[in-house]
Structures are given as C-alpha cells and as structure tokens.
Amino acid sequence: MYTQALNSSDGDDRFIEDADRAAAFQARIDDDERIEPNDWMPAAYRKTLTRQISQHAHSEIVGMLPEGNWITRAPSLRRKAALLAKVQDECGHGLYLYAAAETLGSSREELVDAMLAGKAKYSSIFNYPTLTWADIGTIGWLVDGAAIMNQIPLCRCSYGPYARAMIRVCKEESFHQRQGFEIMLTLCRGTDEQKAMAQNSLDRWWWPVLMMFGPPDQVSQHSDTSTKWKIKRFSNDELRQKFVDATVPQAQFLGLTIPDPGMKQDAEGHWRYSEIDWTEFKQVLAGNGPCNRDRLAARRKAHDEGAWVRDAAAAYAEKRARRSMAQAAE
C-alpha cells in the first residue's frame, strides 16, 4: 500500500536481543495491548514501524502533487474548494504520521531528508500523471478508496501512536472518496465526451490502483513478522480482493467498464481479476515510473524554497528567547 517497499527484503533484521523481554513483549501483543513510545520493544519492531510509518507519511505528502496539479483548473468554485480542502487534509495526514514515526526515535528532519535524498520510498501510485480532470475523480474514488481499505485495519495496529493517527486519518478519508465518486458520477451523466474522459481515466488508473496493495502474498516478505506483531491484520491479496469486490458494483452504477476483459464473478460472489503486470510495478518502485523524477524534483524544490522561512522563524525565536533572558536578568 503506502508502504509497498516494505515488501522488498533488505536482509534479515529479525534478531532477538533479549529473549525474556521479547517473549513478554509478544505476550502483550497477543493480549491486544497497545505498545506506547516509552515501552520496551524489539529493535526490529521499531525499525519496521519507523519505515512503515515514514513511508506512509511520505506518500501523503507526495500524494498532494498529482492532485495539486488541478487546483487552479478545477471546473467550478465548488470543485476547487473541495479539492483544496482534500489536498490540505493529505498534508495533515502526512504531519500526523511524521509525528507518530518520530515517537520511535528518528527526527522529522532525518525522515524528510531520507525522502528528499531518494533513499525512502513512497507509494508507487503517486508516480502516475493526472492528465485530465477525470483523474481527480478517479483518484478520490479509487486511490483514496484503496487507502481506506488499507487504513481501517491499521486503526487497530499494535503501536498506539500509529493506530491513533490512523483513526484521525480515516475520519477524514470518507469525504475524499465521496467527492471523487461525485466527480465521476457528474462526468458519467454528462456529454459523451465527458463520459469518455471518465472511462479513459479508469482505463489508465485501474491496474496501478490494484498494485497499491503490494505484491501477491506468495512473494511478499515481512508479512509474517508484521502479522505476528499485529501491525498488519490482512494480507495484500485479501485487501486487494475486498477492494475489487467493493468497487465493481460502483463502476457498474457509473456505467463504466473495468479494463479487465477476463474479470469474472466466482460462485461465492468474488470478482476474480486477471494477472497483474508486476514488471510495471517493479519498474515504478525502482524509480522508473512516468513521474518519479518530477515528484522528487518538486519536493526538493519546495524544501529548498522554504528554507528561508525555517531560517527566519528560527532566528526570530532565538532573538526573542535571548531578549527575555536579558530582561529576566535585569
């Protein structure tokens, strides 16, 4: 999902530093207790969560770019106000998540610098371009829809600060999905060209959205420990199937065709999709998606151009602090 890179292994970091403490820790997890920042935790739990939460935060922040692209060109004031509010929410999500990640001991600056240096990942979906206004509808409907599927179980994640951030995020996401679906519905009830624009957008986003859930279960690493630690409660394929089952009837309601001619409903009512092109997914994760370079360049530019604001605020705070010290000394 927003943390797909976790599915790629970078060596075995699951060591046990203290068997007794590790056993007591696992017992707390098994009892559905929440782990809080000052509690003892295995180094690998801390590392996995730091990576997962910071990748999730980077995804929220980079995710502002494809949608931000349409704010000045939204077709009406109503749509512009909604899109602006949505993008602002995504910024808030990024900030809640950075704060949660920091409770594990890394600083905000380290986390952000790792992303700007291209060392930390964010979700593959944000490396696709928003070519038409319909893409704003599709993103809200499907990208936020997929994010909701992933984030609802995270509200019960074993790490307290992450679970609490997710509760706040989930409360805000439903507006995102509904405004996107409303855009799609308006286009689908509009002229032939508008409906064609909606279909074209679905055609381009469908497969990348299914890839958001990460590699298929047979090849996904990290899942076992994450499940044992109650960070992950459903597998990639389970969440993907839930999402597809929820989405097919919505597409039918819109009168749009899902670009998967092989898709069939099975006896239990599940919509079975065709094989996903995982080479495309790997290419995008490796930095070769349509917009990877643009996204990083835009983040770096924003960071560099904001440097004077951070410097000025810090200098002003220091001046004030010095002045009040001097006054106290008088």
Binding site: E36, N38, D39, W40, A85, Q88, D89, G92, L95, Y96, A99, E102, S107, R108, E109, E110, V112, D113, R164, A165, R168, E172, H303, R310, A313, A314, Y316, A317, R320
Partner: protein, 95 residues
C-alpha cells in the same frame, strides 16, 4: 546538508465548553506563536476545538512504563476506596 531540528510541541484541544483540554498530537514549530497557528491548521480543520494549548514536549516529565507496577499497584489493592465495597441493604434504596 541536513536540516536543523525545529522544536517539538504537544497539542491539547478543548472541544466543547465544559470539557477538559485533551492531548491530540504533536507538531514542530520554531516558537509558541507559530506552534499555535500550526495547531489550528493541523488539528482543527473541521471545528474540532474552541481552545488550544501548546506545550514544549521537552517540558513534559513522564512516568516510567517499566515501573508502572510500583507506581499504580497501591491504588489497585485499595478496593475500599470504591462505593461497591460497602453493603447497603436494598430496602434503603439508591445511595
């Protein structure tokens, strides 16, 4: 170049009249004024609050979770501090 660290603040919001301020999360800001403005933008986009407090995180002293036994056990064994410890005959009615 690494970015210099900006101070961390804890944010407390009173959501309605008569309720207490409740911890909602944290944020980074250079000073208290900026922290208040950032808290407004990050934590009250949908009318969540009537009042905000920001406190430098470094000013908080927390109890040690590994000593929670020693810290809180004395309260747990004193069941006579609870009203249900005392028998009042049913005829007496609600008390």
């Amino acid at each position: 170049m690494a970015t210099p660290n900006t101070p961390l603040w804890e944010v407390f919001i009173r959501s309605r009249n008569g309720l207490a301020h409740k911890h909602v999360g944290s944020l980074h800001a250079a000073d208290a004024t900026l922290a208040l403005q950032a808290a407004r933008d990050i934590y009250t986009r949908r009318g969540e609050g009537l009042s905000i407090w920001v406190v430098p995180s470094s000013a908080i002293t927390a109890s040690d979770p590994s000593e929670k036994g020693m810290m809180f056990e004395p309260a747990e064994s004193k069941i006579y501090r609870h009203p249900t410890f005392y028998d009042v005959p049913e005829e007496v009615g609600h008390m």
